[in-house]
């Protein structure tokens, strides 16, 4: 287990080539090199997730999605300023997601009457670092009441998909996940087993489960256990 030597293998997946070189030198190390050294909360479970996945249900991590926690009253100048900077209107009621509700671009998830979560792409793909993104949005907020914080490291994103994904979730989630109640493009904060997660339906057979980073291992193993009968 001891990783004390800091000899880090190159990442398995090539990070995007849109970043880095231009910034090289400004901080003494290229941004691409920084990104290459990131380790996602479930990175050591990649093989287990592959082995546990099959035709009927699949699990994988979508690591490093940029995430901004935005506090702003749901109507008013604060939310208008934030929406302008994000390029996405803010959601205003439980379950609502605005923007790219399938997760293909910037999406904004309702969390509470004065809190939303903006989710974007991994910096390795978008070239936009979350701290720059959060600074931009915070600048748009200016002196209006509210708060914008880069919380990209707070949660990781697991994608559970396939024709039996719903059945796997239903074993652990007490909410009504029927499309009539939980349509494609909806997201809520709830419990999966006893673990708090954001549950986001990105497609008919595709869900994002977003646990806090320190719960990632537990949630992955929990889901893999639920997937066994469908493998």
């Amino acid at each position: 287990m001891a990783d004390s030597t800091l000899t880090i293998d190159p990442p398995q997946e090539q990070v995007g080539d849109t970043t880095g070189s231009a910034e090289s030198g400004s901080r003494g190390i290229g941004r691409a090199a920084v990104l290459a050294h990131r380790r996602s909360p479930a990175h050591d479970l990649v093989e287990e997730m592959e082995q546990g996945s099959g035709e009927r249900v699949r699990l994988r991590e979508l690591p490093f999605l940029s995430q901004l926690a935005v506090r702003a009253a749901s109507a008013g100048r604060s939310s208008a300023a934030v929406a302008g900077a994000l390029g996405v209107a803010l959601p205003s009621r439980v379950g609502e997601v605005t923007g790219a509700t399938d997760g293909s671009g910037v999406a904004v998830l309702w969390l509470s009457p004065d809190e939303v979560l903006a989710v974007g792409q991994d910096e390795g793909r978008s070239g936009l670092s979350p701290d720059v993104w959060s600074a931009d949005v915070a600048q748009a907020l200016a002196s209006e009441p509210g708060q914008v914080v880069d919380v990209s490291a707070n949660r990781t994103t697991l994608e559970l998909s396939g024709p039996c994904a719903l059945q796997v979730l239903q074993k652990s989630c007490e909410l009504d996940l029927h499309p009539r109640v939980f349509p494609v493009g909806a997201a809520v904060a709830t419990l999966l087993g006893s673990t708090g997660v954001i549950l986001w339906r990105t497609g008919e057979q595709s869900w994002r489960v977003m646990p806090r980073a320190s719960f990632a291992t537990h949630v992955v193993r929990w889901l893999l256990d639920g997937m066994r009968e469908f493998r």
Binding site: V94, S112, P113, E174, V188, L191, S194
Partner: protein, 95 residues
């Protein structure tokens, strides 16, 4: 399992919530003026009715907001949910 109707999120299972005890217990205007007994009354003593009870809940696993609910301590039926700061509902009507 109770189903609690969060004012922000709608009906959710009880496990998503935390309990906050009796509602409408005001912080003393001048705590230093209280005797030890009065302070203890404020801190530790709560009503224990058989019937409707206004109490605080927090939707810990959802919107993370506090709100108030009126629950019947005999049946566990929750007759009202309302936002923090709203007045206690008139319980004289209905059950």
């Amino acid at each position: 399992m109770l189903i609690i109707d969060c004012p922000n999120c709608g009906p959710r299972p009880e496990t998503e919530f935390g309990y906050g005890g009796q509602a409408h217990v005001a912080y003393p205007a001048d705590p230093h003026a209280l005797t030890d007994e009065e302070w203890a009354q404020y801190l530790f003593y709560r009503d224990n009715p058989k019937g409707s009870y206004a109490e605080r809940w927090v939707h810990s696993a959802g919107c993370r907001k506090w709100f108030n609910a009126v629950r019947d301590t005999r049946t566990y039926e929750i007759s009202h949910v309302y936002r923090q700061g709203d007045p206690r509902p008139d319980l004289s009507k209905g059950a």
